[in-house]
């Protein structure tokens, strides 16, 4: 992988080291290269004379493998030699300058491939058509007599061939074809295959430059302390007290709610900010604790008013007339994204230009944030996207980009790298929202499940981060995986009377998109309660679910159950099931656990996924096993608590996550049924917790309805 920005930056750094270049705009990562690239066939494809192919990737790479998957899709249609492919990121500024030719840069919601597969393939196909046309023109034969494969164009009647590199310059001059026909998926040779990632080599020897690793000439490093209570303000700080500390250049206020020390190096900035006396106006949030939040949500479970997300039939009447009802209340705590690379961004500001280098999941909103903070037109700003040391939704926000620019503005002409400490990162995330859920299920006299009411009470992510996307005050994202139908996340069970409603209760703590988003708790609520209903009905949980599940939901669940040998567990080992649909894909898991003397061991998880189409099975497998690490970290250990308005967990000692010794063996079964494109980075996280919780019930008879598991007298190591 070679980012355009990092390429330029690297050669810049080399020359800077050699000759002490003075710093000026356009040098660190000139922004015009893409637009003027000589061998650009179209926006997506560059072919060099030596046949090297560079594929442009608009979405961010944060480990999820989208970069490789998107390149496979372009290469498939381009009919190029995969061994000659590398990739680069256009900048958001270039996208603006070229009328958004690369469309959406936003990388979240498992949308990287499923949302752009068609136009990136068309880009590859158009480039191939132009290369073939250029060869045909040179040979003076009809293009229809020529074919392309493995970066070579062949004219069968005369036996002549030309390599892509030989005709690239001519192809680049041709008009783009008005329309292209995409290949049938069954004819794929590169896409659909488990090829290796394109970005691995640099991750093995320390040479990959993440945002945190960026070094620019004359660069200073800043670190920040934000008001510990969300919504609070900076009152004052005694900058003079630390101004004389080694390396300290400046102490500055940031946005009225934070203070930053700018120094020669990170450690100097860190020591100074630790010593800096700061006075905060903590604001009303300081009265909040986990207990007050809990009470606020509890009230919502039975509140009169709620937004209705899904209504089929009349659940309330069905439940009132049921022969038997079952009721349970579940809850889900705040979680931190905690990507391994703490938040950071580097900014260089002068009166008429602002450049930012940032690991971001959303280059375009980072650019907008930079321009707004710089108070400059977008055309005078740009963002160079760095590889991300993890994202998980955290880096879709641009708070740290805004801060870096606000700090850099106070030291114009000098690049400033803002580095958050892990402690700042832990305390100032937009957290996985807190919710509770009261579920009531009703059976008729014949034992059929006739009604279900899910009352969700709790926080809305859109209210925190994107209130403009709310619909008449309602947050539709709350109902992920619980929709009456549709292609994104439908409720899996056919129950004649279903009501899902949401009493919105928003504490002062910011809620955000956390890998898997609302599907995480919704899947726990539905799938653990289905287990409860099955037990209440005296029916095996698999058999019970099969009676009500829609076909594709049932198929993945059956695949996971069969793969795990459900019902045939060895003595002392117990199975738990879960299924859900989210991010356009159907997923299911069967967890195999044992509990002995208060010690829980998760031996194995068999997971099945139907994402419609699989672009890279090896990478899907990695996303699935990684999803269990993320989902089980939260389920077993993760909880952010609030005291006096402040998040109490500040590092991995108090916010423990899954490590190697707790990692179950994950077996991935792919059952793509075709005809749709679903995401894979997130949906599986939803089934991680409920499959394990249901297996714990099978093992112990103990129903865990609040997380993390570690609160329930169960050790995992």
């Amino acid at each position: 992988m070679t980012a355009i920005a990092s390429m330029d930056r690297r050669s810049f750094l080399v020359s800077a080291a050699a000759g002490g270049l003075s710093l000026g705009f356009g040098i660190p990562a000139g922004t015009a290269q893409v637009a003027g690239a000589v061998r650009e066939i179209n926006a997506w494809v560059v072919v060099h004379p030596d046949d090297r192919v560079v594929i442009r990737i608009a979405r961010s790479e944060m480990g999820q493998g989208t970069l490789t998957g998107l390149a496979q899709l372009v290469a498939e249609e381009l009919e190029c030699d995969w061994s000659k492919v590398s990739t680069e990121f256009p900048t958001p500024g270039q996208n603006v300058a070229r009328n958004r030719v690369w469309r959406n840069f936003s990388t979240g919601g498992s949308r990287g491939i499923r949302e752009s597969h068609e136009y990136v393939r068309q880009g590859g196909a158009a480039a191939r058509t132009m290369l073939v046309a250029a060869a045909a023109k040179r040979w003076n034969v009809p293009a229809g007599e020529c074919t392309a494969a493995n970066s070579v164009i062949r004219h069968a009647p005369s036996g002549r061939t030309l390599a892509y590199g030989a005709v690239a310059a001519e192809a680049a001059q041709l008009e783009a074809p008005a329309a292209v026909v995409l290949k049938d998926i069954k004819d794929w040779k590169i896409a659909g295959k488990g090829v290796k990632r394109l970005d691995t080599a640099e991750k093995l020897n320390g040479s990959l430059v993440y945002g945190l690793d960026l070094r620019l000439p004359n660069m200073l490093t800043a670190t920040i302390r934000q008001c510990p209570v969300a919504g609070g303000k900076l009152k004052s700080f005694a900058g003079a007290k630390v101004a004389g500390m080694p390396g300290v250049r400046k102490v500055v206020a940031v946005d009225g709610n934070a203070v930053a020390v700018v120094a020669d190096s990170y450690w100097q900035a860190h020591k100074a900010i630790e010593a800096l006396p700061v006075d905060w106006d903590l604001g009303p949030g300081a009265k909040t604790s986990s207990a007050t939040i809990d009470a606020m949500l509890k009230e919502g479970l039975t509140a009169e008013n709620a937004f209705v997300g899904t209504r089929i039939g009349d659940a309330k009447t069905a439940l009132a007339g049921a022969a038997k009802t079952v009721e349970a209340v579940y809850s889900y705590p705040y979680q931190n994204h905690a990507p391994m690379e703490p938040m950071n961004a580097t900014a260089l500001y002068t009166a008429d230009r602002c450049e930012v280098w940032a690991p971001t999941q959303n280059g375009e909103s980072a650019l907008a944030a930079a321009a707004e903070a710089a108070e400059l037109p977008v055309a005078k700003c740009d963002v160079h996207k760095m590889m991300l040391g993890g994202g998980f939704g955290r880096r879709g926000r641009s708070d740290y980009v805004r801060q870096a620019v606000l700090i850099a503005k106070q030291v114009p002409g000098v690049p400033v790298k803002l580095v958050w400490s892990r402690e700042e990162d832990m305390m100032h995330c937009a957290f996985h929202p807190v919710t509770q859920c009261k579920l009531t299920g009703g059976f008729d006299a014949a034992g059929n499940l006739t009604g279900l009411h899910m009352r969700i009470s709790g926080q809305s992510i859109l209210a925190s981060l994107a209130p403009q996307n709310m619909q008449n005050g309602m947050d539709p994202v709350v109902f992920q995986g619980l929709n009456a139908g549709g292609t994104e996340g439908q409720f899996g069970y056919d129950i004649p009377n279903l009501l899902v409603d949401h009493a919105m209760r928003n504490p002062h703590v910011l809620a955000g998109f956390w890998r898997g988003v609302n599907l995480n708790h919704n899947a726990i609520y539905v799938e653990c309660f289905m287990d409860e209903l099955a037990r209440a009905a005296g029916i095996d949980p698999l058999e019970f679910r099969r009676r009500y599940l829609k076909p594709k939901h049932r198929a993945v669940l059956e695949a996971a159950a069969a793969g795990a040998g459900y019902g045939k567990a060895a003595p002392g080992v117990h199975h738990g099931l879960a299924q859900i649909m989210g991010f356009g894909s159907y997923v299911a898991a069967c967890a195999e656990v044992s509990v002995t003397g208060g010690k829980l061991k998760i031996h194995r998880i068999v997971a099945a996924t139907d994402p419609g189409v699989v672009v890279n099975p090896a990478q899907v497998e990695r996303q699935v096993s990684g999803s269990f690490v993320y989902g089980l970290s939260a389920a077993l250990h993760g909880e952010c608590t609030v005291k006096d308005g402040v998040i109490e967990q500040t590092n991995f000692d108090t916010y423990p996550v899954l490590r190697m010794d707790e990692m179950p063996k994950v077996e991935t079964i792919l059952v793509p049924s075709g005809g749709f494109w679903g995401g894979v980075g997130e949906p599986t996280i939803g089934v991680a917790a409920p499959a394990v919780l249901n297996a714990i019930f099978a093992a112990t008879g103990k129903r865990i309805r609040s997380l993390p598991v570690s609160k329930h007298d169960l050790r995992t190591v």
Partner: protein, 149 residues
């Protein structure tokens, strides 16, 4: 001024002797392959070898290094040849975001130097590094592959 031996080369580090080795490597010497993840010896992203011993460099002040010989991820490959752990990582396509992988690789290289054929339990005990992307399954497979190599 401290003189450090890193990857077989001498470096002068004119920084406060209390500065953690991690920040000496990254900021003073430009060896940014060693990563900052937590700063409190919890995550292992900053793992280097000091005299062959895997060490969390965020918790070692410069003054404590003495004349210990330091190896960082940049110096693991010798004579242009990937270390067998790096090779196994490449073959098994281990990294996702890659940020934790410098530390993972350094920890795995130290484990294999001590135990050429580690069991799963040995791996669990030695590999306490955090990976938020969740590459543990691939890490385990790659360590076994490196042991066979």
């Amino acid at each position: 001024m401290a003189v450090l031996t890193i990857n077989g080369k001498k470096y002068d580090a004119a920084v406060d002797p209390e500065t953690p080795l991690l920040w000496v490597l990254r900021d003073a010497l430009g060896l940014t392959g060693t990563k900052y993840g937590c700063g409190i010896a919890q995550c292992g992203a900053c793992t280097v070898h000091i005299d062959g011993v895997p060490t969390r460099s965020c918790a070692v002040p410069l003054e404590a290094v003495g004349d210990g010989k330091i190896t960082t991820i940049e110096g693991l490959a010798a004579n242009g040849m990937l270390h067998k752990v790096q090779k196994a990582w490449l073959d098994n396509d281990v990294p996702q975001c890659g940020y934790c992988q410098s530390g993972m690789i350094m920890a795995a290289a130290a484990l294999l130097a001590e135990k050429p054929n580690p069991t799963d339990d040995d791996i669990d005990a030695a590999m306490t590094n955090i990976c938020r992307c969740g590459t543990y399954q691939q890490v385990r497979a790659a360590i076994h592959a490196a042991a066979r190599a």
